[in-house]
Amino acid sequence: MSTFLGMPHAPRGVGQLREQEPFPDAARKALADDQLRHNLGHATATIRGKRARVVAEVADWEQLRRAGEAVKAATLARLDEHLLRLEERVTANGGTVHWARDAVEANRIVTGLVRDTGATEVVKVKSMATQEIGLNEALAAAGITAVETDLAELIVQLGDDRPSHILVPAIHRNRTEIRDIFLRRMPGVDPALTDEPRQLAMAARAHLRAKFLTARVAVSGANFAVAETGTVAVVESEGNGRMCLTLPETLITVMGIEKVVPAWTDLEVFLQLLPRSSTGERMNPYTSTWTGVTPGDGPQRFHLVLVDNGRTAVLADAAGRSALHCIRCSACLNVCPVYERTGGHAYGSVYPGPIGAILSPQLTGVEDNASLPYASTLCGACYDVCPVRIDIPSILVHLRGERVDHRARGPVPSAEAVAMAAAAWVMARPRRFRLAELALRLGRLLGRGGRIRRLPPPLSAWTAARDLPVPPSRTFRQWWRASGRPEEGSR
């Protein structure tokens, strides 16, 4: 996707925002995994039900959604001012603000900051931004070990796996698989460990507690940052994040620039919308907020790294910019019939599901995630549950248009473009449409017993799993005329 302002997209070769293979190919492999289908079907159905119940309790949910949307839209319209205000307030409160154009710069800044402390291990709070920029890999290349402390992220990390969900990164694993990963990879784990959830949690707790007590540096993301006070907020369920945010001497927070909100009171809206939408809880269990550095309490060095990595390019596109409203709740993943069946890995990017299908292509440029805008039936379930009212189906259609326009500038039109042009030519005149219907009737020769069971490519994709009825012996219009009813006009 090209934008008029020519803002840079997220660079290639770093981080994880791009499809490794086209979505249909990746999805085909995922669909063949029966265990995955079962795990995902069970988990998404459970969380969908929880969300629906707690959202139904809130009488003014629609007004809250509209408030969330309005706050985000207004903030993005003056993003530069809010970010400068945030920098000023964080700095005044003893923190240091760094600006990173992209993933490469952000990784370099964080790696340098950790090196300056002399630490070779950092504990991490669950964070999408650091996954997006590939921070763990960058730190590893510099000889620094990053330890994920969110339980699900830990499962993913120990399993040499990739997260497949924004909120529940190990949603594709069941408890037996998790026990096997712990037995294989967790140092000092009790070999008699069962797959009972409490036992698994206790094993992770013992493993992580040692890390919390020795770590000198923590790395986090941010759910919100309040410009007027310079306050950063992290929302989590386990308390492991709070361990990281309070125990180490140095805290480095990596935050996408769209996470800023102007005022403390804006949190009132989002802290109602987020927990009900994401985990189906009425109130978030651990909400940590901090403002710069407080002498004698918590980390004594605080760095805030503000990352663009393609966000300004998204902001420049009026038809797609509301993707930046996203508060990473995952409600759209949990209701998406495509996500429920393919899981998150098929999307390639760390942002899977409907929001990923619009966000990733916009951050990278649509050519680098060309199949993602098509990874949806446009059923609209995502838009209905989005707490900040991102019209995901419309943005998907917009990105499909960008993709087609981009390809149309190439030397050779695709077979699809030729077929679409032909169909549009036929439909442009009723006479041509009628002739095409006559031609379609030849399809009757392909059928047996009223059904067509096999068609040549690309229609073979249909007949691989479905029949097609043979075209009727007469069209509706022919019936209409034969019935003696008059047709109106002769355009």
């Binding site: 249909p24 439909m427 229609l459 047709e487 355009r491």
Partner: protein
């Protein structure tokens, strides 16, 4: 009332019984149905696949054909969804405000069949008779673009002799999605498999919906399984009477 029928290209060419039933039903209710001859296609497939330029041409044609009518009815939530929620926006994005205003005018006068019956005509009991077990699949665009809600169900509940059974996870997409069914055929088939599993569990001999496209998908899958479950458009059930089962 004089009603212009937008038959939709798919029903005209492939599912004439759905359009025919719409005509017979409206006539039975005492209305005068006319068929604007120039109609072809609303352009939804082009637009939703990314072919905006071609879609704009089809939108212009659709507006030219239907602009003179005070009431346009189509047996499709999806096509009406496109007319109501995409046509004007597409024209406006291209800087054609004149076409956008005309498209808005047409959109305000266009209804999906169940909306037209319940909201405009104010009927729920259309005098139909259909003595069979039926399950209803609410199509995504009728549900989430048009917000038809339970209007189709209210119409069905008033049908005499019908044994209407609820479909589990009814509001989940069947996996059609236009060109999605071809571009992401495997995922589409997986969604279809779950939809069919729920349909078969109802024990219904007929599955109905307000869109021929979704029914083509669900019916195509059921036919492949030789499941013995037929698909009928909502209009066909509502048009059925003691004398003739659609």
């Amino acid at each position: 009332m004089r009603v212009a029928l937008f038959a939709t290209c798919l029903a005209d060419a492939m599912f004439p019984d759905a359009a025919r039933a719409t005509v017979l039903l409206l006539e039975r209710l005492g209305h005068d149905v006319v068929l604007p001859a120039g109609q072809t296609c609303c352009g939804q497939m082009h637009l939703n696949t990314g072919y905006r330029r071609q879609a704009r041409g089809l939108v212009r044609h659709h507006v030219d054909v239907f602009e003179p009518y005070d009431a346009v009815v189509a047996p499709s939530g999806s096509c009406v969804g496109s007319v109501r929620h995409q046509h004007a926006a597409l024209a406006r994005d291209a800087g054609d405000d004149r076409l956008a205003d005309r498209a808005d005018h047409v959109a305000r006068r266009t209804w999906e069949l169940s909306e037209f019956l319940v909201d405009v005509l104010g009927v729920e009991d259309v005098g139909a008779h259909f003595p069979h077990r039926v399950t209803y699949h609410p199509t995504c665009h009728s549900l989430r673009l048009l917000r038809v809600g339970d209007k189709p169900l209210r119409l069905l509940r008033a049908v005499r002799g019908i044994d209407l059974v609820e479909l589990t996870d009814a509001e989940q997409c069947c996996g059609f999605g236009g060109t999605f069914a071809l571009k992401n055929a495997d995922t589409s088939a997986a969604m279809l498999a779950d939809k069919m599993r729920h349909v078969l569990r109802t024990g219904a001999g007929t599955v109905t919906a307000g869109d021929s496209s979704c029914l083509m998908h669900i019916g195509g899958g059921l036919s492949r399984l030789r499941a013995g479950v037929r698909t009928l458009h909502l209009a066909q059930i509502l048009a059925s009477t003691d004398g003739s089962i659609a």
